[in-house]
């Protein structure tokens, strides 16, 4: 099979798993909760099972709304994506310039 074909099949498989997981999850999700994060579910479970536990530290900085929070998550993804794209571009250029005299 051609390289590109395999890559496309892998990408399709990835999207399929994500889509199926979303559809199945959608049937089970609590309408009020949407797809709540597992991290916050764990915190909620601790609070329910151990009502006497008092968290002894608070986050130094808390994004003031979910919009701000998702923006900061996007910033994280953007930083990572930029670096990843840059490095792959550089690697690719290095490889191309090395190839004519591959003996090096």
């Amino acid at each position: 099979m051609k390289k590109a074909t395999i890559n496309i099949l892998l990408a399709v498989a990835l999207v399929l798993v994500a889509a199926i997981s979303y559809l199945i999850g959608g049937l089970r999700t609590d309408p009020e909760d949407g797809f709540a994060g597992t991290d916050s579910l764990a915190t909620r479970h601790i609070q329910a099972a151990h009502p006497d536990y008092v968290p002894w530290a608070q986050p130094l900085f808390q994004p003031s709304s979910s919009e701000v929070e998702s923006g900061l998550f996007a910033l994280q993804a953007a930083l990572g994506g930029t670096v990843l794209g840059f490095t792959i571009g550089r690697l690719s250029a290095r490889r191309r310039s090395a190839q004519p005299s591959d003996e090096a």
């Binding site: 395999i6 797809f35 991290d39 996007a74 792959i88």
Partner: protein, 227 residues
Amino acid sequence: MHIAEGFLPVGHAVAWFVVATPFVVHGARAVIRQSREHPESRLLLAAAGAFTFVLSSIKLPSITGSSSHPTGTGLGAVLFRPPVMAFLSTIVLLFQALLLAHGGITTLGANVFSMGIAGPWVGYSLWKLSNALSWNRHLGIFAALAGADLATYVVTSFQLGLAFPDPVSGVWGSVVKFLGIFALSQVPLAVIEGILGVLVFRLLSDVAKPELERLGVVAAEPETVAA
């Protein structure tokens, strides 16, 4: 896998710090050594870090009706061995603790242990195992990335179970409850991460073949092996 700020008893929080610190220090030295001795691998090292940065910023919906983060630590563990990931994961977790109120400073030790130490070592072991069994290389990458992802959340469940034993069923009962929250949700995410890892690995095999050969991740071409 982000245990929230303040949500580990003091003793546990301190203990996880003590356990995680040597790994992180060792990892930081591994990063420095790698980039000093092999400047040509800096780009690939940055790519491994960036991969974790991107993946851990994404929350994906799961079959359980909740959503969770992939970790992206398996790739760097395969390329550069696990210690490097202890350091890179610490950077990611610090970013999230300070800017996103995700995880926390008091729980940093525990979170670094699950995401930056346990996950990468499990992923790396699966990669080594797949090599020993001479599996297809891509299957090995898939297993390493999915395994690192899943193991991270299993470890978090144990950490929380130990810290908050169930009044009736004890530590084990509590671990099972946390596994119920984390583990099943993580399965499709681990699969997604595994597939994405194979795609990125295929890309890297194209653009960074000499580096991957030097790192021993892909077999060197015959003429270099003979030497």
